[in-house]
């Protein structure tokens, strides 16, 4: 980090501190308030499933394209899900065009891991004929506006787009070795759970800020992400960098994440009506 950037970060910190001393954040939120979340399902008609997520100003759009492929050799009865996140140069000044940046790769990996490891989707329902044909779902998330807490936005976009997927019926004729697809009849996927993440950051090693904006992220250290899937189950807790976190703060994070799951789940059902 150059000296100039250090000074800049220092000044921003003073600026944020002025707000936090009065228990308020620069965008008029309380310390524990999340930004308003908005969700639109099925907005993109060329995709087999799609979702647009807004967290404050942050916007992520996920579109899922389904294609036919051969099942992986080690799991002949399962389909494939490939998640990728793009941070195009359009979405913020710090991103450059070209191949995916390190940040985009980390996010892609994050979404891929959550979709597969939480077991939210039983991949055998994507199989058409064992060892021969299966569906492959390309989950591509594009960030359209980057204003902090991109993790929560991309994960929510990917999960809700999966919920929106409708696949054409496929039938395999073993005698004629022929696969036919009927576009007129479609089916939805069955999801066993819905992982929802909530991210925090730490200001000055002490103050927990939930759902940080970009401005806050630049002066804060550390990122805490808690993923819950309803009820009492926690899918993942991760904390990268920054100061140490005491157990009370962690408990607070987890309880907030549970509350978040309820809010998002309500938002999702209201969208399905």
């Amino acid at each position: 980090m150059s000296a100039a950037n250090e000074v800049r970060a220092y000044q921003r910190k003073e600026y944020l501190l002025k707000f936090l001393e009065q228990d308020v954040r620069p965008d008029n939120r309380g310390l524990g308030d999340t930004r308003e979340a908005k969700l639109t399902l099925g907005a993109i008609s060329t995709a087999d499933g799609s979702a647009m997520v807004k967290l404050g100003h942050t916007v992520a759009v996920c579109g899922i394209k389904a294609e036919i492929t051969r099942p992986p050799t080690d799991k002949p009865d399962s389909g494939v899900i490939i998640a990728n996140v793009q941070l195009p140069a359009m979405c913020a000044p710090e991103f450059k065009s070209g191949p995916p940046s390190e940040k985009a790769q980390v996010l892609s990996d994050f979404v891929q891991q959550v979709l597969l490891d939480t077991g939210m989707i039983d991949r055998t329902q994507l199989c058409i004929e064992s060892g021969l044909h299966c569906w492959i779902l390309y989950c591509d998330v594009i960030c359209c506006n980057y204003d902090g807490n991109i993790r929560d936005a991309v994960l929510l976009a990917a999960v809700s787009a999966l919920k929106d997927v409708s696949l054409p019926m496929a039938q395999y004729d073993a005698e004629q070795e022929n696969l036919t697809i009927d576009k007129d009849r479609k089916r939805q996927l069955t999801l066993s759970c819905m992982p929802v993440s909530l991210s925090f950051t730490l200001f000055d090693d002490a103050v927990l800020l939930v759902d940080p904006t970009h401005e806050e992220e630049t002066v804060c250290q550390g990122q805490i992400t808690v993923i819950t899937s309803g009820g009492d189950s926690i899918c993942s807790v991760s904390k990268h960098g920054g100061a140490s976190l005491n157990p009370e703060q962690l408990t607070l994070c987890i309880s907030k994440a549970k509350q978040r799951w309820c809010d998002i789940s309500k938002l999702m059902t209201s969208n399905h009506l």
């Binding site: 150059s2 000296a3 100039a4 000074v7 800049r8 000044q11 921003r12 600026y15 907005a43 647009m52």
Partner: protein, 232 residues
């Protein structure tokens, strides 16, 4: 049609162009968009900021409010300009005052990032070069860069040359120009005590700088600007 509604306000415009006409009445008079003809060229009007002359008319080149005012330099003539809420300057202009941050100091020159022109802040800074001989108006040969600027200082400069493709050439050879914000080694914002010294309020250590002495109304302008720079 599935609308993405990426936008905050949900006012949907559907193509009813044909009944559109000029129904926004009074407002359309004062708001112009790029390419809109504002008036015919005549000897009493001067085309100002945000406008251009083409054939026989003055056209707007910006989207904003049209402003007519008497020209100060040429009395009796009207200046037509288009004002936006955005920054007035897109790039540093020759002869203009700029606010910059020192990124590198060598015995012969300082490299700076130009972060603002007057009140317009750049999202992406431009590179500037402040040479040793342009630091002071007098006793140019006695200038020592390390006694004038340190990396991180915020310096008020004047653009004296557009320079090459690499950087703009800047100068601080005026009383009003020089360091306006500097941090001491202890990390506190220092206070000026003379035209060449600043003091840290925390440790009371004195450091050398080429201190600016801005005029009273300029201080007001800078205050507002500095607040914005701090936000950035």
């Amino acid at each position: 049609m599935a609308t993405l509604k990426l936008t905050t306000n949900d006012q949907v415009e559907v193509n009813n162009y044909h009944q559109d006409g000029n129904e926004d009445g009074g407002c359309s008079m004062s708001i112009a968009i790029p390419g809109q003809k504002l008036m015919d060229i005549n000897s009493d009007v001067i085309s100002g900021h945000g406008t251009y002359e083409h054939k026989d008319g003055i056209y707007s080149s910006l989207a904003g409010y049209v402003k007519l005012e008497e020209n100060k330099e040429q009395p009796g003539k009207t200046m037509v300009s288009v004002q936006t809420t955005r920054h007035k300057h897109l790039v540093p202009v020759l002869g203009g005052l700029v606010t910059s941050r020192v990124t590198q100091a060598t015995p012969r020159f300082c490299k700076v990032d130009i972060i603002a022109v007057e009140k317009s802040i750049f999202e992406i800074p431009f590179r500037g070069l402040l040479r040793k001989e342009d630091v002071r108006a007098t006793e140019k040969d006695k200038v020592e860069i390390h006694k004038c600027f340190r990396p991180g200082d915020i310096v008020l400069c004047r653009v004296i040359s557009v320079g090459d493709s690499q950087s703009y050439i800047l100068s601080t050879a005026e009383n009003e120009l020089g360091v306006i914000v500097a941090y001491s080694e202890a990390g506190a914002a220092m206070l000026p005590i003379s035209w060449r010294e600043m003091q840290c309020p925390r440790t009371l250590a004195v450091e050398f700088r080429k201190v600016a002495k801005p005029t009273a109304d300029y201080i007001d302008q800078i205050k507002e600007l500095l607040h914005k720079i701090v936000i950035k």
